[in-house]
Amino acid sequence: MNADAMTNDPIGKTWGDRPLVEKGLVMAHIKAAMLFMLTSMTAGFIISFQFFNHYPLDGVTEFLSYGRVRLMHTNEIAYGFLVNGFIGMMYYAVPRLTGRPVLDKRLGWLIFWVWQGLVLLTSIGQMLGKAQAVEWGETPTGFRPGTWEMNYIPVDFLIEIGALLVAAQFLIPIAKAVHKRMYVSLWYLSSGIVWLILTYVMGNTLPEWSLPGSSGGATVGLFIHDLVGLFVTPMGWGLMYFFVPIILRKPIWSHALSVIGFWALAFFYPLNGVHHFLLSSIPMSVQYGAVISTIAVEIVVTTVVVNFFATMWGRGEALRTNLPIRWFYTGMVCYFITCLQCSFHTTLTLQEYIHFTDWVPGHAHLVMLGVFAFWIIGMMTWVWPRLTGNDWYNRRLNHWQYWLTLLGLFIMFVDLTAAGLVHGFMFKNLAPWIGIIEALKPFWGIRTFAGGMILTGQILFFINMWKTAKGTNKAYDYRVDLVATTEG
C-alpha cells in the first residue's frame, strides 16, 4: 500500500467504464443507518421513562409495550444502524482497497432494499410479539417458539440469505483483488461477513429448535457476544485501519501488530460468549474457559489500541482541528475503558455483585455507542461532504453533536455503573426488592436525562446531514485534504 494510494479519495475514480465507488449506495446506507439510529434511540429514550413510571404508552397499546419497544431499541441498533453503517462504509472502503468496484450495482440496490425490509419486518414482528428471547440481534424466526408452527415471515432465514448476498457482493471482488498482498482491513472485513453468517446460524437459529436449557443458554451467550466480537469488532477495526491512515495521511504504526491482533481475535473471541451467564447451570469448566479467554481477548484488544495511539503519535493537533479523528480518538479511549472494565467484571468475584444490575447496560452503552457508533459517526463526518460535494451546512452543529453525545454518554456510563454497584450491594445484603427499586429511581432519572442529550446530538447531526445534502452551501473544497489535517 503506497502513500500515494492512501492520500487519494476514491470518489470520482473509475474502473473501466464503471465508477470505482457507487456513491448512491454509500449514501443510501448512511441515510438508512441514521434513520434507524434515530428510531432506535427514540425508542430507548421513551422506554427509559418506564423506570419511573412515566412511559407515555404504558398500558395504552399492546404493540408498543415496554418489552417490545426495548426489543426494537436493541435490534434496530444491531441490524439497522451498525450493519447499515458498516455496509455503507464498506462500499466506500473496499473498492479503494481492492482497486476494483464491488460485484454489481443492481445487486447492491437489491441488498439495500432487502435489508431495510428485513429490519422493518423485524421491528414490526417484535411489535406483534414474534420475539426470540435473545439479548440483542434477534429477528423473528417466523415460527412459534420451539416448534415448527409458522406464525410470521421467517426473517431469521431471510437475514441469512441477505448476509450471503452481502458476502457475494464484497468477497468476490476481494478474492479477485489485483493486489497481491491483502491489507489488514480486508482481512477484518471479509472475516467479519463470514463470521456473521456462521454466528447467526449457530447461535440464533440452531438453539431455538435443538438446544434446550444450559446448552441453549451457552450457545445463545456465544451468539450475543460473537455478534459483538466476531462481527461488529472486526468490521470496526477493519474500517479504522482504513480510515485512520487515510485521514492522518500516514501509514499505520505496525502492520504486524494488526495481523497479530486479527489472529488473536479469531482464536480467543469465539469462546467468550458464556460470560453472559456466569454462575448459571452451565458446566463450570465452560464458564472458566469463557472467563480466561475473555481476559485474554482484552490483551488482544490492546494491539489495536496501541496501534492507533502510536499512529496518532506526533499528530496530536488533529484532535483539535479534525473532528473525525476526534471521534475516533474518543471512541478508542472508550474502547480501552470498556475492555479494561470487561476483563475485571468478567471475573466471578465481581460477577457476584454486578451481574443482573445496571452496570451491564452501562457497559453495553459504552461499547456500542461510545466505541462503534462513535467510529461510524466519525467516518460519516468524514465521508458525507465528499459524497454530496457540499461543505457541512453548519460545522458548529457537528461540534454540538460531539459534545452532547460525549457528555450524555459519560453521564449515562457513570450513572449506570454507580447504580449497578448500589443494586449489587443492596441485593447481597438482602434488602427488600422494592427498597432496591426505590434506591435506583434517581439513577434512572439521570439516565433518561443523559439519553435525551445523546438523542438531541444525533437529531442535530441528522438535520446537518439533511441540509448538507440539499446543497445550499458552498462546494466542498477538496484542497483541504491536501493541506494539513484541518478537517472538521
Binding site: 418506564q50 409495550s65 410479539g129 444450559s214 456465544l222 469462546l271
Partner: protein, 312 residues
C-alpha cells in the same frame, strides 16, 4: 507469515467450531439432554393453582384451552359429589350409580387436565417471550450473593432441561425479582391484579401494565345482606362477585338464572337467589390465564440432578 495463511484460516474456523462444541454440546453430553422433558410431560402434574384458576375464571378458562370444559377442580368435584348425594338422599339415584358417575367425571377430568394445561403453559411461555419479560426478570438462581436465601435452591442443569426452556429464558438483568421459583409463591388473584396494574399491589413497582391480557365484561354479583352490612360496617351496596366474566350482558344474565335456580333448590341458600344481580366486571382473558398458569408453573418441575458430580 503469508505462507501460513491457509493453516491459520483453517485454525480460525476450527476455533469457532471448538467454541460451539464446547459450549453447546458439552452440556448436552453431561446432562443426557436427549431426554428433554416435553411440554406434555410437564403438564401432567396438576397444581392446586391451576384448579384455582379454573374455578376463578371458568368462562375464559373453558373457552381458552382444548378440552378445558371437561376438567374438574377439587372443589368442582366436591360440588358434584354433594349434588349427587342429595339426589341419592332424595331417592332419584342409587349409591352405585352415583359412584359410577363421579368416577366417570373424574376419569374424564384427569385425562383432560394435562391437555388443557400443556396448551396453557406453552401459550403462557410464548407471551413471556413476546412481552420480553426476560428483559427484567431472570430465571436462574446463582450460588452467590445470598440468592438462595432470597429465592430458593441454586439452579441445576437438570431443571433447565425441558421444552419450556427452549429457547432458554434465563435473562440477564433484574429490574424485577427472579422468577425461577415463582410458582406457588403468590396467589392467582395477586398475579391478576398485579399484571393488570402492578402499582395496585406493589405501589413502588416500575413494571409496565398489561391490560390487554384482561377483558372487561359482565359478572354475576351478590349484594351483601343487611345483617352482614350492619355487622361489618359495610356499605349495603357492597357486592361480592361470583366467578366468571361474560362478554355480553345476556350471557351473564343467563348464568345468573342458572345460579338462582340452583340456589333455590337448597333451603339454606334460597334467600341468596334474590340478592343476585349482573354488573360490570374485569378478569384475565385466556392469554392472561395462560400467562398466570405459566408463572405458577415456574420452579415446580424439580427433577433430580443427573450429573455424575451431583450424584456423588
Amino acid at each position: 507469515m503469508d505462507k501460513f495463511n491457509g493453516i491459520l484460516l483453517v485454525a480460525g474456523f476450527g476455533c469457532f467450531i471448538f467454541a460451539f462444541l464446547l459450549s453447546g454440546l458439552y452440556p448436552i453430553i453431561i446432562t443426557d439432554a436427549t431426554n428433554e422433558a416435553s411440554i406434555a410431560e410437564l403438564a401432567t402434574v396438576i397444581l392446586p393453582d391451576y384448579e384455582d384458576l379454573r374455578d376463578g375464571w371458568p368462562v375464559a378458562f373453558e373457552s381458552g384451552f382444548p378440552r378445558a370444559e371437561e376438567t374438574l377442580s377439587t372443589v368442582g368435584l366436591r360440588k358434584l359429589e354433594q349434588r349427587l348425594r342429595k339426589e341419592v338422599a332424595a331417592g332419584g339415584l342409587s349409591q352405585a350409580q352415583m359412584d359410577e358417575q363421579v368416577a366417570a367425571a373424574k376419569a374424564k377430568s384427569d385425562e383432560a387436565w394435562p391437555v388443557a394445561m400443556a396448551a396453557a403453559l406453552q401459550r403462557g411461555r410464548d407471551i413471556y417471550i413476546s412481552e420480553a419479560c426476560w428483559h427484567c426478570h431472570s430465571q436462574y438462581v446463582r450460588p452467590v450473593a445470598n440468592e438462595d436465601m432470597r429465592y430458593g435452591p441454586v439452579s441445576t442443569i437438570a431443571q433447565d432441561n425441558n421444552a419450556l426452556q427452549r429457547p432458554m429464558l434465563w435473562g440477564t438483568r433484574r429490574v424485577g425479582p427472579d422468577l425461577t421459583y415463582e410458582g406457588g409463591k403468590r396467589s392467582n388473584d395477586w398475579h391478576a391484579a398485579h399484571l393488570h396494574d402492578p402499582r395496585s399491589t406493589s405501589p413502588k413497582s416500575v413494571m409496565p401494565k398489561y391490560p390487554w391480557y384482561f377483558r372487561e365484561g359482565f359478572q354475576v354479583y351478590r349484594r351483601v345482606s343487611e345483617r352482614a352490612a350492619d355487622l361489618g360496617g359495610l356499605d349495603p351496596e357492597t357486592a361480592y362477585p361470583y366467578p366468571g366474566i361474560y362478554d355480553s350482558k345476556a350471557d351473564a344474565e343467563a348464568a345468573m338464572a342458572r345460579l338462582a335456580a340452583e340456589l333455590a333448590k337448597d333451603q339454606d341458600l334460597a334467600p341468596e337467589a334474590e340478592r343476585l344481580f349482573v354488573g360490570e366486571g374485569i378478569g384475565p382473558n385466556a392469554d392472561g390465564l395462560a400467562l398466570i398458569s405459566y408463572l405458577q408453573w415456574l420452579g415446580t418441575w424439580r427433577p433430580e440432578d443427573t450429573r455424575k458430580e451431583a450424584k456423588e
